[in-house]
């Protein structure tokens, strides 16, 4: 009887040890690949050289069906040196990476990639300046 209990405990411990070693998949950037297939952008912002938003309050609109973002930047904004930021659905990523200085004087395209990395949706972002 005692021997049987010992074997059971040993087996559970073994399972726990091996179970703990399961390797979660990660993408090239080292980010966790999950099972989520949702793929959309939920928020967008654009910062000027002073790291403050250049967008007119309430002007940003996202159409997740048409996959477009439109916004209006304040009068005087230097659109050739701005830094975009966005929020996306849980576990999704954006390509190319945001948060870097870019020229936004023309519409830009960013692709949202789902958590399972199987769904890709390219958004066209257009920001016009008050004139």
């Amino acid at each position: 009887m005692k021997k049987g209990i010992f074997y059971i405990v040993f087996a559970i411990a073994g399972l726990l040890v091996f179970g703990g070693c399961t390797k979660e998949p990660v993408d090239d950037a080292g980010l966790l690949v999950t099972g989520r297939s949702q793929c959309y952008m939920s928020f967008f912002d654009l910062l000027g050289s002073d790291h403050r938003t250049v967008l007119v309050s309430g002007s940003m609109q996202i159409d997740t069906v048409a996959q477009t973002v439109t916004a209006v930047a304040r009068f005087g904004t230097n659109m050739t040196r701005v830094k975009p930021y966005s929020s996306v659905v849980t576990d999704a990523t954006v390509e190319p990476r945001m948060g870097e200085w870019v020229d936004f004087s023309q519409p830009m395209q960013y692709t949202v990639v789902s958590g399972n990395r199987k769904v890709r949706k390219t958004y066209t972002i257009t920001v016009t300046v008050q004139k």
Binding site: S49, D50, F75, G76, N78, T80, R81, W101, D103
Partner: protein
């Protein structure tokens, strides 16, 4: 059982015995000791003052003299102060107390004689006014003191880097008047002065105040003469050189030296050396107090940070201070 208790007692006694045998060191009183504190935290810019607190105390005899020797002679005003400071317990206010006399600076060497009233231990201020000769160099200081017992102590400081920057404070720019600013000269000119002195080639930007442009808020701005959008109403002469200066607005850099007080945050040489202006605008607008802009002259000779000390919408003025580095 009794045997176990005996063993346990022996072990405890042994431990106590070993702990009691730890070596304790008794500090030997030195006859004369000294120490140094550098109080100034900002960059040592030419024309500014670096403050040190030099402390010295005697166990044998009394402190008689102190001396400081800088590796590069300081500018006028360098030397020991004759006063020490203490905090008034009733008010919390720091108050001076004279503890030294005969404070003299001759070249690189500054000396002071300690007064009899405070001759056992004293902390004196030593001020080093950064001279032009030290620009870009490492400067070290050798402090020393003597006691009545004939003892001498010395304290050699580490090397302190002297900045290569220039700094000017509180320049008032006035829309339509002293509005044309030259980083090379670190001063503002009127349009007439620029015209008469043929200075347009060294003008980096013009200051304007426009509450609105095309119904949109604009405010206080620095605009390059090459800008084609915001200074058309200035009707600049066609013959003027209109250099495309680059400006990069900032709202979160409150340099304590430019501001005059408030924050232990500083623009140093490396900030001006490393700042890049890729796709930077040729204007900075909507400026208010405590904001500023990195600016580079069109030919890249100078990089500067202009800090806005104050703006006045009624008088149409903006008071600025700047740090400037020649990078070419």
């Amino acid at each position: 059982m009794n045997k176990n208790l005996t063993y346990l007692a022996v072990a405890v006694i042994s431990c106590l015995g070993l702990a009691a045998c730890e070596k304790t060191t008794v500090a030997v009183l030195e006859p004369l000791k000294n120490d140094l504190l550098k109080k100034t935290t900002g960059p040592a810019v030419i024309g500014t003052r670096v403050e040190f607190a030099y402390a010295i105390g005697a166990n044998d005899g009394t402190v008689q003299n102190v001396k400081a020797e800088a590796s590069v002679a300081g500018a006028t005003g360098t030397g020991f102060s004759g006063f020490s400071w203490y905090t008034d317990r009733a008010t919390g206010v720091d108050k001076p107390l004279q503890t030294a006399t005969d404070t003299v600076t001759n070249g690189m060497v500054s000396t002071a004689k300690i007064l009899d009233v405070s001759n056992k231990a004293v902390t004196l201020r030593y001020y080093y006014n950064v001279p032009e000769a030290a620009r870009g160099q490492l400067v070290t200081f050798k402090f020393s003191g003597t006691s009545s017992a004939g003892k001498e102590v010395t304290f050699t400081s580490p090397g302190y880097q002297i900045s290569k920057m220039d700094m000017t404070r509180s320049i008032v720019l006035e829309d339509g008047k002293k509005a044309y600013f030259s980083i090379a000269d670190m001063k503002a000119y009127t349009k007439e002065e620029v015209e008469q002195g043929n200075l347009s080639g060294k003008i980096d930007f013009v200051y304007i105040y426009r509450p609105t442009i095309s119904t949109y808020t604009f405010g206080h701005a620095m605009v390059s003469l090459a800008n084609k959008s915001y200074i058309n109403d200035l009707n600049l002469p066609a013959a003027w050189t209109k250099a495309a200066t680059r400006l990069d607005k900032r709202v979160d850099i409150r340099d304590a030296q430019l501001r005059g007080s408030g924050f232990d945050s500083y623009i140093d040489d490396i900030d001006l050396e490393k700042t890049t202006f890729t796709n930077a605008a040729d204007y900075a607008y909507g400026l208010t107090a405590d904001q500023g802009a990195f600016v580079t002259s069109a030919d890249g000779t100078y990089v500067a940070y202009l800090f806005v000390n104050a703006v006045n919408n009624t008088a149409k003025t903006m008071t600025v201070s700047l740090k400037r580095l020649k990078v070419k």
